[in-house]
């Protein structure tokens, strides 16, 4: 079970990176980046998971339930999600401007710093 759970993390991260490296479209690249990002979320939640654990919310419970999962990790993943959303939004904005300027979303066409004179 452990192996399967943590393999998912490695797989998600690497497949996302594969997408970033090979993608021919900036928007696809942003999506791949968020795939890798979700690998970190999955890892965070897995570290915090407890077998048979319930949510760390103690409302309407007269007796203490069994174990609860790790609230810190849940708070961290919340932070991570917001962060990912912010970065994706900014990258998409950059992609829009690139498309407007060059008429292309292919990172291969984006070679201006290379074209600066030596």
């Amino acid at each position: 079970m452990s192996i399967l759970a943590y393999s998912v993390v490695a797989w998600l991260f690497l497949i996302g990176m594969y997408g970033v490296v090979t993608s021919r479209n900036l928007i696809a690249m942003v999506i791949c980046l968020s795939v890798s990002q979700s690998a970190t979320d999955v890892l965070i939640l897995e570290i915090g998971y407890v077998h048979g654990g319930s949510a760390p919310v103690f409302v309407d419970l007269t007796r203490r339930p069994g174990p609860t999962v790790d609230a810190i990790m849940q708070a961290l993943s919340l932070t991570d999600v917001v962060l990912g959303a912010a970065v994706s939004a900014l990258l998409l904005a950059l992609a829009i401007q690139v498309e407007k300027r060059t008429g292309s979303l292919d990172p291969d066409d984006l070679r201006t710093t290379h074209r600066l004179p030596w």
Binding site: M1, S2, A5, Y6, V9, A10, F13, L14, M17, Y18, V21, T22, E46, I47, G48, Y49, V50, H51, G53, A55, P56, V57, F58, V59, D60, P67, T68, V69, D70, A71, I72, M73, Q74, A75, L76, L78, T79, V82, L83, A85, A86, V87, A89, L90, L92, A93, L94, I96, Q97, K100, R101, T102, G103
Partner: protein, 252 residues
Amino acid sequence: MNARARLVVFLLAAVGLACAFGVAFAGIPHFGAPVSAYAAILNHLSEPSRQASDVVSAVSFDFRGVDTLFEEYILFAAVAGISVLLRPLGDETRHLPEDEAPDRRIPPPSPAVGLLAVTMAPVLVVTGLETVTHGQISPGGGFQGGVVLATALFVVYLATTYARVERFEAGSLIEASEGAGAGGYVIVGLIGLVAGSAFLTNVVSLGHSGNLISGGTLPILNATVGLEVAGGFVLLVKEFLDQTEVIRGSGT
């Protein structure tokens, strides 16, 4: 480096990384092992000492409140950044998308969508407010509720045209609410200082766990975050929607 060389280097790196991940993950506790001492302490502390029954909220806004402050500023920076990046540039002019295809009129939204929007918008607003205000009791809070609130406006947009939404929305009011949300968090933090304690100390009366007003500063912080997130997301989507109107710059 051409695509093939890049792929070869990447695959080599990926194999190496897979091994590294394997080694690292072998060293952490098994999946589903009991939580750390840190988490156990927080689980036991948050209700007696803060009257907050949702530990996640207590962690985000009290125990580790600084993280959330910076998180909020990441969102603030992103929204400010997008309006900087997508600002109308000197060589661009605005006109409505209809102009580009004068012979094809955009069909008006169907009445069914309109009805749906009319029903949904108030529900969304209420749900959003409920989520924001009950963060300290049950799952939810400013981030989640703020997003729900922001969607209310987009439902209205779906039912009408963007031009109409734009005419009627109060841009400066939304900006103000976003700024107030971001600044409000800092002010709440400073209250702790004024009260002679540390920054972000929970000094407001705590109330009783499970009540709407409980957890001290938690609901206040949730409200500021809700304000910031709702305002931020509306601005964010507005900037992207504006792009549908701005035609390509003449310079390229």
